[in-house]
Symmetry: C2
Subunit: 216 residues, 2 copies
């Protein structure tokens, strides 16, 4: 059975991992006969956002502890992720990818990537194992690999930032997956487009399917 490592960035679209993308990636993996383990960095969130008003709240939350809500407690600190134990790596989106796993939401194309996330992505790439990224998380891949073909859907400013990192952006719509064949990297836009939950299911299914096909 093929096994995915999944990296989450909290719990909630505006300050953590997007909940539908995370849940439907888990479902897509299980449905296609594979399995997963979940990881997150043990760090303080960039901030906490009231998901009704969009305003910052005067609170501190921990990325690993919040991500455990999506994982139902079955989660490990990212330092424990050993690429040798897995066949593939996948990262759902949500602003947590751009605020906690990296600083893209603050620094744009000059983003820094969390060291644990960087180590994990590079280990899978070095072992020529597929790496998948949904929604906004391809910016992490663009920063780490540079010369790579990616999609974040059709958002002009994010596409331009990716190009400044040296990446090539391919415009896509719901459910489409871009494969970079040099690095074996798979990306799909999900909620980077104005999408409904059926389109998120389609994107998650398609990216997992494309990754599994290269593992046969």
């Amino acid at each position: 059975m093929k096994k995915f490592a999944m990296i989450l960035s909290g719990s909630g679209v505006f300050d953590g991992a997007e909940i539908h993308e995370s849940t439907l990636t888990m479902l897509a993996i299980k449905r296609q006969g594979a399995d997963y383990e979940i990881f997150a960095p043990d760090i303080t969130q960039h901030h906490v956002v009231n998901h009704i008003t969009g305003e910052e709240m005067d609170e501190k939350r921990n990325v690993l502890i919040e991500a455990a809500r999506i994982a139902r407690g079955d989660i490990k600190e990212i330092g424990q992720l050993d690429a040798n134990d897995f066949d593939a790596l996948i990262m759902p989106g949500g602003f947590g990818a751009a605020k906690n796993l990296s600083t893209f939401a603050i620094d744009g194309e000059n983003l820094k990537v969390n060291p644990g996330v960087e180590k994990a992505v590079k280990a899978f790439i070095d072992q020529k194992k597929p790496v998948g990224a949904l929604c906004i998380s391809p910016v992490i891949i663009g920063k780490l690999l540079g010369d790579v073909e990616l999609t974040i859907g059709s958002d002009q400013s994010t596409a331009e930032a990716l190009q400044k990192m040296g990446a090539t952006h391919k415009q896509t719509t719901h459910g489409q997956v871009i494969r970079d064949s040099k690095y074996n990297v798979f990306t799909t836009p999900c909620y980077m487009l104005d999408a409904n939950i059926l389109q998120i299911e389609e994107g998650a299914n398609n990216v997992v399917k494309a990754m599994l096909e290269t593992m046969k």
Copy 2:
């Protein structure tokens, strides 16, 4: 297009709405050609639980604001739920149903039900519109209706508590749905059993399907 009102109880299995059950109920509704709006009470959570350790955290969180994480901000206070605007009501599970929407986790069969939730459930029942409840949330229906046929899977002590409320408990396994034909109430066990995410998808699909069949 048939429209469901969905009541959430926070965000996270141990102190709020179960995230997979909530997400997969939304998916099941959309997949079967219906639509939904999401509601939650504007109250402080019973407590906040660290989902890794299971320990209580020294924090306060609001049920409506946390539930908005699952709803991506598209949520209303439960007082705004008018049964006249909907065809059906559905409640995913998670301990939030037993700690925030009711006091079942503290008071057992002597539970109190949140007044907004009570008003909503009774309005749908009065209008003979179907009411669905997943996982532990059938205890709310048992308390409000008494003489009703329900399932929470196979947990002996919860089944006994339901019977003390006057309800009849039917033992079920993954994906099975119990319909009470007098009240048009539909229940399915989900994570009240030791389940994986595929079995949650099956339960959510089946309960929504059974409800939609009575609306034709």
